[in-house]
């Protein structure tokens, strides 16, 4: 499937690397990729990819082929993340939680609450300066859910 077709300019295609009803703890382990269309603060299911192959190349190719704007996943190795980012898919790694909770947090721009242990800090977990917004944006923000460049401070 191609996720780029019929998109308006504010439309984003969100991809979640899943295991059962939660995010897979490791991107390479995820047997399912769930796709969601994000338009005007609404998140609608947009497809599903089953990935029996554990070949990282197959996964990255599938995500790139379906035109995902964002990938939200658990732990991911640096080379896979670079490959996806170079192909234009922004990766939001080291996230954990149930799928509905993660989607809701994405919508409300508070994914920092779902960051894996050990990654709650400035520049941790391969994020460099790409932390998450520490505060919620206004409800009418045009780009809800996009990670900002403001590093979050470690929550105690």
């Amino acid at each position: 499937m191609r996720g780029n077709e019929g998109r308006n300019t504010n439309s984003k295609l969100l991809c979640l690397a899943c295991y059962e009803d939660r995010l897979a703890s490791v991107f390479d382990n995820a047997p399912d990729l769930k796709l969601f269309r994000v338009e005007d603060h609404k998140i609608c299911p947009a497809g599903y990819l089953s990935l029996p192959s554990k070949d990282p190349k197959d996964r990255t190719s599938a995500i790139i082929a379906c035109g995902a704007t964002f990938l939200i996943c658990g732990a991911i190795c640096g080379c896979t993340m670079n490959e996806l980012e170079q192909a234009g898919t922004k990766v939001i790694p080291w996230i954990s939680g149930m799928i509905d909770d993660v989607l809701s947090a994405y919508q409300q721009n508070c994914l920092e609450n779902h960051v894996m242990p050990g990654c709650r800090g400035r520049g941790r977990c391969g994020q460099g300066n790409r932390g998450f917004r520490a505060r919620r944006p206004p409800q009418n923000a045009m780009h809800a859910g996009e990670p900002s460049l403001n590093p979050v401070h470690r929550s105690k």
Binding site: S25, P31, D55, P56, A75, G118
Partner: protein, 444 residues
């Protein structure tokens, strides 16, 4: 002996070099020792209370959990090699052991997993493998060791070298090594397969031609000898060289000159010649198929390259080398091959030598997505055969018939080698001979 109840358990566990963590029945981490924090980079206070898969994020999480399987089966897992992803995006190889935890009444209360960082061990292993590398040739066997010992001296001399070895033993690799270790290393290395080109084409390829030498020769063409000036020319499959060209080659060796087709003047041959063949040149000389004088000219320094089945101990090194190489070429991340797969390879006779091993691994790479190459990823001809049904299997047999069947199958397994069959069956050579004769009489 019981563990003393007054000892501070966590202090004992914190003193270990291996990471240790425990989980309750809901997979929440209940203890995370100091080594676990050091190896994973996750502070204990952040790990405790979290789900184990959010902390350890290993290749077994999300479906293949070691703790889950041993808590389910009340068994133990020891020294399983996996990797986890470190916070900095590195894949860290670890060896894990896991066991269920039970209380005083024998009720399951959780599990314990210990893990050891294998990064240093892998680094040391890589360094050791490097020490078994000579240029691009991999091996630690005695046969190769002897060649490695003399190769530098052979390379430094200008003498013609003759490489003898079966197909796939790496003759071109050795030729390149000789070139790279010689004074001519900055010059070109030109390889020619004498068996791959028709006679007339081979001649023009080797010696070149002048414009007008024959129809369609509109301009001069430099031959391989000219292209290799200042360097090394590698004449592969020299045993297949036609008689007419053998004379011309002999002249190059004797006078260090050659004449391109249609030329009136000789050209100086500033090349070092390395020749190779998988044929028995001495036999070809006896049969009159190869010039004796050329043979003696070529046979100044001879290196006999061992077949792969003569250096079985090099197979694991070669497998690692090819896995790393194929990973780099194909952008894959195969960890290696499983023990049982390696056993199959170690027992295979490899008629195609190192080239066959490389092809086998290339095939396995197609079928194996990640992790370790397993038996099912090997080509069909290497798959263990299920016990073939024979007409005898479903009907009653006499003891003699059973003996015959056992002997026949053992001979098959040992490729007809009688001594190996005797060793397998635990019988003498005479007993085997008598049994075979009796079986032939019975037609069994």
């Amino acid at each position: 002996m019981k563990f003393p109840s007054n000892l501070p358990c966590s202090a004992v566990l914190d003193s270990l070099a291996d990471g240790v963590f425990t989980v309750d029945r809901d997979w929440n981490i209940t203890f995370f020792n100091e080594a676990a924090s050091r190896i994973t980079g996750i502070p204990s206070e952040e790990a405790v209370g979290s789900k184990c898969w959010d902390v350890f994020h290993s290749s077994l999480c999300d479906g293949d959990c070691a703790l889950r399987s041993c808590m389910k089966d009340c068994g133990r897992i020891s020294n399983k090699s996996i990797f986890f992803i470190h916070a900095d995006g590195r894949k860290v190889p670890v060896s894990i052991s896991a066991a269920p935890l039970v209380d005083a009444d024998g009720h399951l209360i959780g599990g314990v997993e210990s893990f050891r960082d294998l990064t240093d061990i892998q680094m040391i292993r890589r360094e050791v493998e490097e020490s078994y590398r000579f240029e691009d040739i991999i091996g630690k066997s005695a046969q190769l060791g002897k060649i490695f010992a003399i190769l530098p001296q052979v390379s430094k001399s200008e003498a013609t070298a003759l490489l003898l070895g079966e197909s796939g033993t790496g003759k071109e690799l050795f030729a390149r090594a000789i070139h790279n270790l010689s004074e001519r290393k900055h010059g070109p290395f030109v390889a020619v397969n004498c068996g791959a080109l028709p006679d007339n084409l081979l001649e023009s390829e080797l010696f070149g031609y002048k414009a007008g030498a024959f129809t369609d020769a509109r301009k001069d063409k430099a031959g391989r000898f000219e292209l290799a000036a200042g360097g090394t020319i590698f004449l592969d499959e020299i045993g297949d060289m036609p008689a007419k060209l053998q004379v011309k080659l002999l002249r190059v060796l004797q006078e260090k000159t050659f004449e391109p087709l249609g030329a009136v003047e000789s050209v100086k041959a500033n090349v070092r010649i390395v020749a190779a063949t998988n044929k028995n040149l001495a036999e070809l000389v006896e049969e009159g198929k190869f010039r004796q004088d050329l043979y003696y000219r070529l046979n100044v320094v001879t290196l006999k390259l061992p077949a792969l089945n003569e250096r079985v101990e090099d197979i694991p090194l070669l497998v690692n080398h090819f896995v790393n190489r194929l990973n780099a070429l194909q952008g894959k991340d195969i960890d290696g091959i499983s023990e049982d797969t390696l056993h199959i390879l170690m027992r295979h006779p490899f008629p195609g030598n190192v080239r066959e091993l490389e092809n086998i691994l290339e095939f396995a790479f197609i079928l194996c997505p990640s992790g370790f190459i397993q038996v099912e990823h090997l080509p069909e001809y290497l798959q263990p055969k299920s016990k073939e049904s024979t007409p005898h299997d479903d009907m009653p047999m006499t003891m003699e018939e059973v003996k015959c069947m056992a002997v026949r199958r053992a001979l098959e397994r040992n490729n007809g080698k009688k001594m190996a069959t005797c060793r397998e069956l635990g019988i003498s050579k005479d007993t085997l001979r008598r049994t075979i004769a009796r079986c032939d009489e019975l037609g069994a």
